[in-house]
Symmetry: C3
Subunit: 308 residues, 3 copies
């Protein structure tokens, strides 16, 4: 997310009432979770395992719970609880608001919204787009032209991103948007979470069947086909022309290359190269998995023959 | 779908502005996708792999992208793009309309519709049927007596049937209906797609749990039990007294025999005989699958013993 | 469920017009399904396989379809069809009512209900709780403080509990409640069924992602994390601090110990000890399952080498 205007490192540190290291005038323009971070952004890290990754990512400012050497051209802010400080900044610049039934949203020519659909604030809908009955579009959603969203789907729900505090879970605010590009079609009773600090994006011409879950900050390319009941976690990157058959599950932060084909019920826990066909839970190349299954079908006969 | 009245082969060809072969007066009464086609129907085929199947099916007229010998008693219409021509005819006889909140539908005695439910056009609801809050019933849905549809379910959404045009996906219009027979019970947040050119049917006494997906043109028999989160694709035929436990997935166009029992999380990619019990992804007879799993559990011990 | 006041064994038998054995003045205070039964309760059993279990459970009165010896301090009522008699009593004390859009419910300070949410009767909502657009809360639901329920979720749908009558399925009335404790967060388009004769409970601080199904009478402990598209059947007992990743399925009546971690797409058919990590369908300890999968990946090579 952009912060709206440019701030200095010292101004952000003052906001958090926390010490900093680095050029006090360092320009800070945004805030982002590490998966989507850009130059000028604030990021946070609170586990030593990820210190190096955070300090060497594109962010300009790192909220961190240890004094460390400041990388060239960057700043750090020392926070007792970087997650909470990050959440504080998100909510300071994008304060949480409960959605109201809005009568004000941008609506392109030829688009139709069923009167039972709920449309939140800061929503833009392009031309010739159809929003079916009982759809919920929450705040900060951008929908292109010639889009179809079928009944009961929820666009812009919160991300499932929590810190385990032992005694309870603490939610990271979802301040990002959902961007649905032109000619996307979304089935019935789907759920598409907004980004935490970036955007969840469904690329042009992508078709999504019923009861599909798309997590926060996930970016899906163009011309993809996603069949019913797939569950795509948060921070996933899916390329173009990817085909995902029914009930596939995908863990957070994986990357799927262009043109991959993923058979039904596959469980994707690691990134997959494009141009190949996958099956199984955990996913493997389809031909490997089918060979394994064939071997397994014959195993007991072989063992009997060999008296094993 | 019926065309409303009887047309001639030459009249349909004229509508498509395309050449035809066969008796110009051949009677044409309907249009249907190949899985559900009847005598008098128009069907389409655009891939050489399926030419024979289409030319030898029950349809009277085949929209085809090649000049071929006309089967006895049939007609063909030569189209550059049979998918598009088929779609054109569907939409000509059943023009697409965005749903409106209708106040006019047939409602039997003793039935109750919660005021927050949305009911489309051409909907008939029998006696003593209960439609719960926030249900969406789209156009062209027939519901019998003593039916229960729980909250958030969507009946009559579009089918997931697209042609890949390379640059984009082109939807086949869904002009069919959903028919829900007497004493069917449907859980919460389910999605039941309408038929493309025939009907999606849920047979008498069949019980469906929450979050279940039923695809276009699928026909489910009587006295079936379908547990939560099952996903049944399009054009599936399920017999009577079939039990399907939770999270089962079923690929399009498979047939399941009467009395089959399918254990939870099974993935059905091929047709299954009735009267048997199945498990696994891909599905196998349960006893085979359990024997495989037992062998697999012991495999590493055997390999160690044999020093393999 | 409590019966409201205390009845005698003979009064209940008279209500059912059925003979009884045992002290006619035996106090009867409630009715419950065997999984949740307490002293003073009525329970039913109609299959010889479960006679002993029912006669020796905590219930005070057993509806049974055979004359048996009456356990010490208990009563039996001989019914031709105990399921139907049980259903009769449930419906006598808790008559079925179709939900109306209620304007009367208890609402704590600071809570916000979106105007498109539907709230049933006998609903209590605590403080600072947020109910998002298009949520359906049916009758007899108790919601604590600081709860979030996101759009499209359905709380208090019927349980999926039917008796197969051969010619049809007969539903057991769901007369129980849903209890959602403080600081629970529930995602979008979830479904949480009410208890049949007890309560479905979601414990304090538990976080549930989108499109999750929770069955009737299931009790989930505190501080659990349940990811998207999980399906938990009825009468399940989940301890505290249990983590369940996406698309996990759980069969009815299993128990999951505190602190268990269940990986994505796992199928749980049997109870699982706490403090361990599980994977696979059917579930096994994760390390066993991963060893099996590794052995399977190498199997065909081994078989080739050994010329098997």
């Amino acid at each position: 997310m952009k912060l709206g205007s440019t701030y200095t490192l010292s101004a952000i540190a003052a906001l958090l009432d926390s010490p900093f290291s680095g050029d006090e005038n360092l320009a800070v323009t945004g805030i982002n979770e590490i998966h989507r971070v850009k130059h000028g952004d604030i990021v946070f890290v609170d586990h030593p395992k990820y210190y190096d990754k955070a300090l060497n990512c594109n962010a300009s400012v790192v909220l961190i719970n240890k004094e460390v050497e400041v990388p060239e051209g960057k700043g750090i802010i020392i926070c007792g609880d970087p997650f909470r400080s990050f959440n504080f900044i998100l909510n300071y610049f994008y304060p949480f608001e409960f959605p109201e039934k809005s009568s004000q949203f941008e609506l392109g020519e030829g688009s139709k919204i069923h009167p039972t659909a709920v449309i939140g604030k800061n929503v833009k809908i392009g031309k010739n787009t159809l929003i079916y009955p009982n759809v919920t579009i929450l705040d900060n959603v951008i929908i292109g032209d010639n889009v179809i969203i079928q009944s009961g789907s929820v666009i812009g729900s919160f991300g499932f991103y929590y810190k385990n505090r032992g005694s309870h879970f603490e939610r990271l605010y979802s301040c990002g948007r959902v961007i649905i590009e032109n000619k996307v079609e979304i089935g019935a009773n789907c759920t598409i979470d907004k980004g935490v600090s970036a955007d969840t994006v469904i690329g042009e011409n992508t078709i999504i069947d019923n009861l599909v879950q798309i997590g926060h900050d996930t970016v899906i390319g163009k011309n993809c086909l996603i069949a019913a009941q797939c569950g795509i976690a948060g921070c996933v990157n899916i390329g173009d022309k990817v085909t995902i058959w029914g009930q596939v599950g995908m863990a957070s932060s994986v990357t799927i290359g262009d043109g991959a084909i993923i058979h039904a019920q596959t469980g994707v826990a690691k990134s997959l190269e494009g141009g190949k066909t996958y099956f199984g839970s955990p996913a493997d190349e389809s031909r490997n998995k089918l060979r394994e299954l064939a071997a397994l079908r014959n195993l007991h006969k072989i063992l009997e023959q060999k008296n094993m």
